[in-house]
């Protein structure tokens, strides 16, 4: 009963809050006022329902927390389906092969000679998967909140556009160059600011991205200003002319390859000395340096490596769209990539891939959703932090093999 009463209060409060903004709209041109009272009713009903559910969830979370603190090994009890999947090497390999095969044949399944819309959509989505994986290194693994990640993407895209247009350099030459330029910018920017505390770092990276965009917009002799750069050559296939569909499919395989590469590299690093140092830095900076980890070098490597992927995939973006302008590199894009990492679970590779695909494909196929896309992203970021800060997919703890250690000890021990 108290729940109902409180929810009612909350509903009334939100009806009050949204009263001017949602109900009234002043049309300054025709000098008319539009009253939209139905919105108020809508807000009331939704707020009541959400408030009710909210209280219920908070209550459940509290009881869960209490349970956890009473329990020494809560993780041992209920493995999630992802943990079960990972624990079973045969099954996980089969799933991996199936997904890989599906990804390989995907462009041929969904495209015809004239219609390759779905392939193009998937290329854009995969580009964001790589971006998500790159930012996952910086934010997810090393805990450096970068709000200007999109700037490195812009660096890669403009590197290719300029090199290809001015010097006629090919896609394959520019691809690594774009990545290196991204990493270089990462190092140059990172060097002075990495000693800043986490929240300052966030603001400075945001400032850096804004500066980058302003420079791109205004320095029109080099970067083409707000109009951008058009007629950027598509990826070349050993000099063979490709049709529209072939080009799309070809680009699809290139990005797919980059995704695979990014997954491989991130997994390797995550399970290495380097990746552990990143995670330790994320968990506790002071303890980390006190254990002998060089903070500057570790942070810089995470920052530069994250930037590398953005630069690399920026080249593909420019080549795929064959037109770029500063509007593709706004704060909202940075925020969207961050939302992917948050939603997927900080540091979780599989989670980030799924989140990136979902966040990029949903607005594309659910037109109704597209309009509310950023609204939902914002809400998702808040709700995730409150209810599932570890992300939708738990970052699984890695188990190491230490049989050898045990055997040696038994031999030499007693």
């Amino acid at each position: 009963m108290t729940h109902v009463k409180r929810s009612l209060g909350i509903a009334l409060w939100f009806m009050f809050l949204t009263l001017p903004l949602m109900v009234v709209r002043v049309n300054t041109v025709s000098r008319e006022i539009e009253w939209r009272w139905h919105n108020m009713a809508l807000v009331g009903i939704c707020a009541f329902a959400i408030a009710w559910f909210w209280q219920f969830s908070i209550e459940r979370r509290m009881s869960k927390l209490a349970q956890v603190s009473n329990d020494k090994h809560p993780e041992l009890k209920k493995p999630t389906w992802t943990q079960r999947l990972a624990a079973d090497p045969v099954l996980s390999r089969r799933v991996l092969i199936a997904v890989g095969a599906l990804a390989m044949v995907f462009p041929w399944l969904v495209s015809t000679g004239q219609n390759f819309y779905h392939v193009n959509v998937m290329v854009s989505a995969l580009i964001f998967v790589v971006l998500g994986l790159g930012l996952n290194i910086t934010v997810g693994l090393a805990g450096l909140l970068d709000l200007g990640y999109i700037a490195f993407f812009a660096v890669g895209a403009y590197t290719y556009a300029l090199l290809a247009k001015t010097f006629g350099m090919g896609f394959w030459t520019c691809l690594p160059l774009g990545g290196l330029m991204g990493a270089l910018f990462g190092v140059v920017l990172g060097f002075p600011i990495l000693r800043l505390r986490g929240d300052y770092l966030a603001i400075v990276t945001l400032g850096f991205a804004s500066i980058t965009k302003i420079v791109l917009e205004n320095w029109d002799t080099v970067f083409g200003g707000a109009a951008g750069i058009a007629n950027i050559p598509r990826p070349d296939f050993f000099g063979v002319e490709l049709t529209g569909r072939e080009k799309a499919v070809y680009t699809y395989y290139i990005v797919l390859g980059l995704v695979a590469l990014a997954v491989l590299v991130t997994t390797r690093l995550k399970n290495s000395r380097i990746g552990r140092a990143w995670m330790a830095l994320r968990e506790d900076e002071i303890a980390c340096v006190a254990m002998g980890v060089d903070m500057a070098r570790t942070k810089l490597s995470a920052y530069a490596l994250g930037a590398f992927w953005a630069g690399l995939v920026g080249v593909v973006f420019a080549a795929h769209n064959n037109f770029i302008n500063p509007d593709s590199f706004t704060f909202m894009d940075s925020a969207m990539i961050l939302a992917m990492v948050v939603l997927g679970g900080m540091g979780s590779i599989l989670g980030v891939i799924i989140a990136a695909l979902a966040l990029k494909l949903m607005p594309e196929y659910l037109r109704a959703f597209a309009e509310y896309r950023m609204l939902v992203f914002g809400a998702v970021m808040v709700l995730m932090m409150i209810f599932r800060p570890q992300g939708l997919i738990n970052d699984m703890r890695r188990k190491y093999e230490y049989d050898t250690a045990e055997r040696e000890d038994d031999d030499g021990g007693k």
Binding site: W13, F16, L17, T18, P20, L21, M22, V24, R25, V26, T28, R31, E32, I33, N39, I58, G143, L145, L147, P192, I193, L196, R197, G198, D199, Y200, A202, I203, V204, L206, G207, F208, S210, I211, I214, V215, E217, N218, I286, F331, M332, A335, L338, A339, V342, E371, Y372, M374, L375, F377, G378, A379, V380, M381, V382, L383, M384, M385, I386, P389
Partner: protein
């Protein structure tokens, strides 16, 4: 050297700075107490401006009143109430459940809240710029000054000054002000001596939002147009000002805002107006690298 131009820029900078100061105070007060960059603070400012626009629209179009100043005051009062309500709700939903979470969590939540509010206003109102009515009547004041400062600017300066005085009195002499200072010093200790820390934090958000809404109304009447994205840039600029002065430090925020406002207008006036924002961010990066504690801040050692 054209002194008239220089003085005009200086006046413009001070006016701009005082707007930044009003917003920056909200950042610095919240940061001082819960060490959170309230990313959505700029959005509260934007909401304030929108509410004021809607109220003036209703009042003028329904023919209730046509005396500009009274409409402005009424609109400002309602805008302030709404901004306070939004600030209070924001803290309660997006930050309070994360009080003991890792440092990055509330920050990400704040970014989410900012994006949410920006798009909420864009969806329920319009993504386009809306003209904000000219409500401040032209009036006469000191002759040499009026050549450089418009009457709107004059109102901005006076209102800002009055607000600052009120804030100082509030923080120095009232009970809630003392509780705020105590909480800023040591939250655990404040709680132990019986201060309701949750209420202090709510009060801080409300005060910050009130200041932001005042800034929103003022800037809207100066620039004459608003849209749902104005909060973002203004928020970051104000945060820059707060950092510049030393975050958590109230006089510092005002000083930082003035420095920022003047630096921006001078940069725009003498170098290039297209790069106005670059000067602000450049200043932020420089200050963080050279003097992370800010102009008036004290370097604090992290407790180990």
């Amino acid at each position: 050297m054209d002194f008239e131009y220089l003085f005009e820029l200086l006046c413009g900078g001070v006016v701009k700075g005082s707007i930044y100061a009003l917003i920056a105070l909200g950042y610095t007060m919240v940061y001082g107490i819960i060490q959170l960059i309230n990313f959505a603070h700029g959005e509260i400012y934007m909401v304030g401006a929108f509410v004021a626009l809607i109220i003036t629209g209703i009042l003028t179009l329904s023919g209730y009143s046509d005396s500009g100043l009274s409409v402005l005051v009424l609109a400002a009062v309602i805008a302030v109430i709404y901004a306070a309500a939004y600030g209070y709700t924001l803290e309660k939903i997006a930050y309070r459940p994360l009080r003991n979470a890792p440092r990055l969590s509330p920050l990400i939540s704040a970014i989410g809240a900012s994006i949410f509010l920006m798009n909420y206003v864009q969806l329920v109102q319009t993504p386009d710029f809306l003209p904000f009515p000219e409500l401040v009547p032209e009036f006469e004041f000191m002759e040499p000054l009026s050549r450089f400062v418009s009457s709107v600017d004059m109102v901005i300066l006076v209102v800002t000054a009055l607000t600052m005085v009120a804030l100082t009195v509030l923080i120095k002499y009232t009970k809630i002000g003392k509780a705020m200072r105590a909480t800023q010093q040591d939250m655990v200790m404040a709680r132990l001596v019986g201060i309701n820390v949750d209420r202090v934090i709510s009060a801080t958000f409300i005060i910050g939002s009130v200041l932001a809404a005042i800034a929103g109304v003022l800037i809207a009447s100066r620039t004459g147009q608003i849209n749902s994205a104005i909060g973002f840039m203004a928020g970051i600029k104000a945060f820059t000002a707060a950092v510049l002065g030393g975050i958590g430090n109230i006089p510092g925020a005002v000083l930082g805002a003035m420095v920022l406002g003047i630096a921006e207008t001078f940069g725009a006036g003498y170098i290039s107006s297209a790069y106005e924002d670059v000067f602000a961010f450049g200043l932020l990066v420089l200050i963080l690298i050279l003097r992370p504690a800010g102009l008036l801040g004290k370097a604090v050692k992290q407790k180990v």
